[in-house]
Protein backbone atom coordinates (compact mmCIF):
# COMPACT_ATOMS: atom_id res chain seq x y z
CA UNK A 1 0.00 0.00 0.00
CA UNK A 2 1.41 3.45 -0.92
CA UNK A 3 2.78 5.46 1.98
CA UNK A 4 3.51 9.05 2.89
CA UNK A 5 7.15 9.19 3.97
CA UNK A 6 8.49 11.70 6.48
CA UNK A 7 12.08 12.43 7.44
CA UNK A 8 13.64 12.68 9.91
CA UNK A 9 11.60 10.72 12.43
CA UNK A 10 13.05 12.76 15.27
CA UNK A 11 14.87 16.10 15.27
CA UNK A 12 16.35 18.04 18.13
CA UNK A 13 17.22 21.68 17.51
CA UNK A 14 18.27 24.71 19.48
CA UNK A 15 15.87 27.59 19.97
CA UNK A 16 16.27 30.16 17.21
CA UNK A 17 17.54 27.67 14.64
CA UNK A 18 15.85 26.94 11.33
CA UNK A 19 14.46 23.47 10.69
CA UNK A 20 13.13 21.82 7.56
CA UNK A 21 10.81 18.86 7.85
CA UNK A 22 10.54 16.71 4.77
CA UNK A 23 7.72 14.68 3.31
CA UNK A 24 7.23 12.59 0.19
CA UNK A 25 3.47 12.35 -0.47
CA UNK A 26 1.88 9.54 -2.45
CA UNK A 27 2.77 10.07 -6.09
CA UNK A 28 -0.69 10.54 -7.63
CA UNK A 29 -2.07 12.66 -4.80
CA UNK A 30 -2.93 16.29 -5.45
CA UNK A 31 -3.65 17.77 -2.01
CA UNK A 32 -0.95 18.11 0.64
CA UNK A 33 -1.12 19.05 4.30
CA UNK A 34 0.88 19.67 7.44
CA UNK A 35 -0.58 19.04 10.89
CA UNK A 36 0.99 19.22 14.32
CA UNK A 37 0.27 17.57 17.64
CA UNK A 38 1.63 18.98 20.88
CA UNK A 39 2.23 16.18 23.36
CA UNK A 40 -1.03 14.96 24.88
CA UNK A 41 -3.20 17.22 22.74
CA UNK A 42 -5.26 16.79 19.62
CA UNK A 43 -4.00 16.98 16.07
CA UNK A 44 -4.19 20.53 14.68
CA UNK A 45 -4.32 21.69 11.06
CA UNK A 46 -1.47 23.94 9.95
CA UNK A 47 -1.67 24.36 6.18
CA UNK A 48 -3.05 22.88 2.99
CA UNK A 49 -1.37 23.04 -0.41
CA UNK A 50 -2.87 22.46 -3.84
CA UNK A 51 -1.82 23.34 -7.37
CA UNK A 52 1.53 24.66 -6.15
CA UNK A 53 0.13 27.17 -3.72
CA UNK A 54 -1.23 27.41 -0.20
CA UNK A 55 -5.00 26.93 -0.26
CA UNK A 56 -5.64 27.43 3.43
CA UNK A 57 -3.65 28.07 6.59
CA UNK A 58 -4.48 28.21 10.28
CA UNK A 59 -3.70 30.91 12.81
CA UNK A 60 -0.77 28.79 13.98
CA UNK A 61 0.87 29.07 10.55
CA UNK A 62 2.41 32.51 10.98
CA UNK A 63 5.34 34.18 9.19
CA UNK A 64 7.80 31.79 10.84
CA UNK A 65 6.37 28.91 8.82
CA UNK A 66 6.61 28.23 5.11
CA UNK A 67 5.93 25.29 2.81
CA UNK A 68 7.39 24.32 -0.51
CA UNK A 69 7.04 21.63 -3.13
CA UNK A 70 10.37 22.14 -4.85
CA UNK A 71 10.56 19.22 -7.27
CA UNK A 72 7.16 17.60 -7.75
CA UNK A 73 7.79 14.85 -5.22
CA UNK A 74 8.96 16.44 -1.96
CA UNK A 75 6.83 18.65 0.26
CA UNK A 76 8.65 20.56 3.00
CA UNK A 77 7.74 22.55 6.07
CA UNK A 78 10.25 25.16 7.21
CA UNK A 79 10.28 26.85 10.57
CA UNK A 80 12.60 29.86 10.36
CA UNK A 81 13.40 30.54 13.99
CA UNK A 82 12.23 27.79 16.28
CA UNK A 83 10.69 28.46 19.69
CA UNK A 84 10.27 26.11 22.62
CA UNK A 85 6.53 25.97 21.93
CA UNK A 86 7.19 24.58 18.44
CA UNK A 87 8.09 21.27 20.07
CA UNK A 88 5.51 18.82 18.75
CA UNK A 89 4.90 15.93 16.41
CA UNK A 90 4.49 17.18 12.86
CA UNK A 91 2.46 15.10 10.43
CA UNK A 92 2.39 15.35 6.68
CA UNK A 93 -0.71 14.11 4.86
CA UNK A 94 -1.91 13.84 1.30
CA UNK A 95 -5.04 12.90 -0.57
CA UNK A 96 -5.82 12.18 -4.19
CA UNK A 97 -8.98 14.19 -4.76
CA UNK A 98 -11.82 16.04 -3.14
CA UNK A 99 -13.74 12.88 -2.22
CA UNK A 100 -10.79 10.82 -1.06
CA UNK A 101 -9.43 9.81 2.30
CA UNK A 102 -6.33 11.36 3.81
CA UNK A 103 -3.13 9.35 4.24
CA UNK A 104 -0.83 10.46 7.04
CA UNK A 105 2.90 9.96 7.38
CA UNK A 106 4.51 8.56 10.51
CA UNK A 107 5.42 12.01 11.77
CA UNK A 108 8.52 13.95 12.75
CA UNK A 109 8.96 14.54 16.45
CA UNK A 110 10.55 17.98 16.80
CA UNK A 111 12.15 18.91 20.10
CA UNK A 112 13.33 22.49 20.59
CA UNK A 113 15.79 22.97 23.44
Amino acid sequence: EPEVTQTPSHQVTQMGQEVILRCVPISNHLYFYWYRQILGQKVEFLVSFYNNEISEKSEIFDDQFSVERPDGSNFTLKIRSTKLEDSAMYFCASKRGTNSGYTFGSGTRLTVV
Binding site: S48, S55, Y102, S106
Partner: protein
Protein backbone atom coordinates in the same frame (compact mmCIF):
# COMPACT_ATOMS: atom_id res chain seq x y z
CA UNK B 1 -16.01 26.17 12.36
CA UNK B 2 -17.19 22.63 12.80
CA UNK B 3 -17.02 21.05 16.25
CA UNK B 4 -16.02 17.42 16.74
CA UNK B 5 -16.72 15.77 20.08
CA UNK B 6 -15.61 12.30 21.04
CA UNK B 7 -16.78 10.17 23.93
CA UNK B 8 -15.77 8.74 26.24
CA UNK B 9 -12.48 10.59 26.74
CA UNK B 10 -10.96 7.61 28.52
CA UNK B 11 -11.83 3.93 28.49
CA UNK B 12 -10.30 0.97 30.31
CA UNK B 13 -11.21 -2.53 29.18
CA UNK B 14 -10.31 -6.05 30.09
CA UNK B 15 -8.90 -8.04 27.19
CA UNK B 16 -11.72 -9.72 25.28
CA UNK B 17 -14.31 -7.04 26.04
CA UNK B 18 -16.23 -5.07 23.41
CA UNK B 19 -16.53 -1.30 23.21
CA UNK B 20 -18.20 1.51 21.31
CA UNK B 21 -16.59 4.88 20.72
CA UNK B 22 -18.71 7.83 19.60
CA UNK B 23 -18.00 10.90 17.47
CA UNK B 24 -20.50 13.76 17.19
CA UNK B 25 -20.04 16.60 14.74
CA UNK B 26 -21.85 19.89 14.50
CA UNK B 27 -22.29 20.35 10.74
CA UNK B 28 -22.58 18.38 7.53
CA UNK B 29 -19.39 16.70 6.34
CA UNK B 30 -18.09 15.20 3.13
CA UNK B 31 -15.41 13.09 4.78
CA UNK B 32 -15.04 11.29 8.09
CA UNK B 33 -12.12 9.12 9.12
CA UNK B 34 -11.20 7.13 12.21
CA UNK B 35 -7.56 6.86 13.21
CA UNK B 36 -5.66 4.88 15.82
CA UNK B 37 -2.60 6.57 17.29
CA UNK B 38 -0.24 3.89 18.53
CA UNK B 39 2.24 4.28 21.40
CA UNK B 40 4.91 5.44 18.92
CA UNK B 41 2.70 8.33 17.84
CA UNK B 42 1.83 7.04 14.40
CA UNK B 43 -1.64 7.79 13.03
CA UNK B 44 -3.04 4.65 11.52
CA UNK B 45 -6.06 5.08 9.28
CA UNK B 46 -8.83 2.69 10.32
CA UNK B 47 -11.80 3.78 8.22
CA UNK B 48 -12.73 6.34 5.60
CA UNK B 49 -16.47 6.44 6.28
CA UNK B 50 -18.45 9.58 5.36
CA UNK B 51 -21.61 7.47 5.53
CA UNK B 52 -22.77 3.89 5.96
CA UNK B 53 -21.12 0.93 7.67
CA UNK B 54 -17.77 -0.76 7.13
CA UNK B 55 -16.04 -3.67 8.80
CA UNK B 56 -12.41 -4.67 9.00
CA UNK B 57 -11.76 -7.71 11.16
CA UNK B 58 -12.65 -6.96 14.77
CA UNK B 59 -13.33 -3.32 14.00
CA UNK B 60 -16.38 -1.81 12.40
CA UNK B 61 -17.70 1.72 11.98
CA UNK B 62 -21.01 3.34 11.21
CA UNK B 63 -21.66 6.92 10.21
CA UNK B 64 -25.16 8.40 10.21
CA UNK B 65 -24.46 11.62 8.38
CA UNK B 66 -28.02 12.96 8.66
CA UNK B 67 -27.80 12.71 12.46
CA UNK B 68 -24.20 13.89 12.58
CA UNK B 69 -22.53 11.06 14.43
CA UNK B 70 -20.24 8.11 13.86
CA UNK B 71 -19.54 5.03 15.97
CA UNK B 72 -16.47 2.84 16.11
CA UNK B 73 -16.96 -0.68 17.44
CA UNK B 74 -14.10 -2.75 18.79
CA UNK B 75 -14.90 -6.38 19.50
CA UNK B 76 -12.83 -8.90 21.45
CA UNK B 77 -10.33 -6.20 22.38
CA UNK B 78 -6.61 -7.01 22.58
CA UNK B 79 -3.81 -5.24 24.42
CA UNK B 80 -2.49 -4.04 21.06
CA UNK B 81 -5.71 -2.05 20.61
CA UNK B 82 -4.50 0.35 23.32
CA UNK B 83 -3.82 3.90 22.23
CA UNK B 84 -5.80 6.96 21.27
CA UNK B 85 -8.63 6.79 18.76
CA UNK B 86 -9.33 9.96 16.80
CA UNK B 87 -12.31 10.87 14.72
CA UNK B 88 -11.65 13.53 12.07
CA UNK B 89 -14.08 15.24 9.71
CA UNK B 90 -13.86 17.41 6.65
CA UNK B 91 -16.71 19.89 6.46
CA UNK B 92 -18.51 20.62 3.19
CA UNK B 93 -17.04 24.08 2.77
CA UNK B 94 -13.42 23.18 3.38
CA UNK B 95 -10.73 20.73 2.30
CA UNK B 96 -9.07 20.02 5.63
CA UNK B 97 -9.60 17.47 8.36
CA UNK B 98 -10.63 18.66 11.81
CA UNK B 99 -9.79 16.26 14.61
CA UNK B 100 -11.66 15.49 17.78
CA UNK B 101 -9.88 15.28 21.10
CA UNK B 102 -9.71 11.51 20.98
CA UNK B 103 -10.65 8.55 23.15
CA UNK B 104 -7.74 7.10 25.12
CA UNK B 105 -8.18 3.32 25.32
CA UNK B 106 -6.28 1.02 27.64
CA UNK B 107 -6.82 -2.72 27.27
CA UNK B 108 -5.56 -4.70 30.23
CA UNK B 109 -4.44 -8.34 29.91
Amino acid sequence: GIQVEQSPPDLILQEGANSTLRCNFSDSVNNLQWFHQNPWGQLINLFYIPSGTKQNGRLSATTVATERYSLLYISSSQTTDSGVYFCAVEEDSSYKLIFGSGTRLLVRP
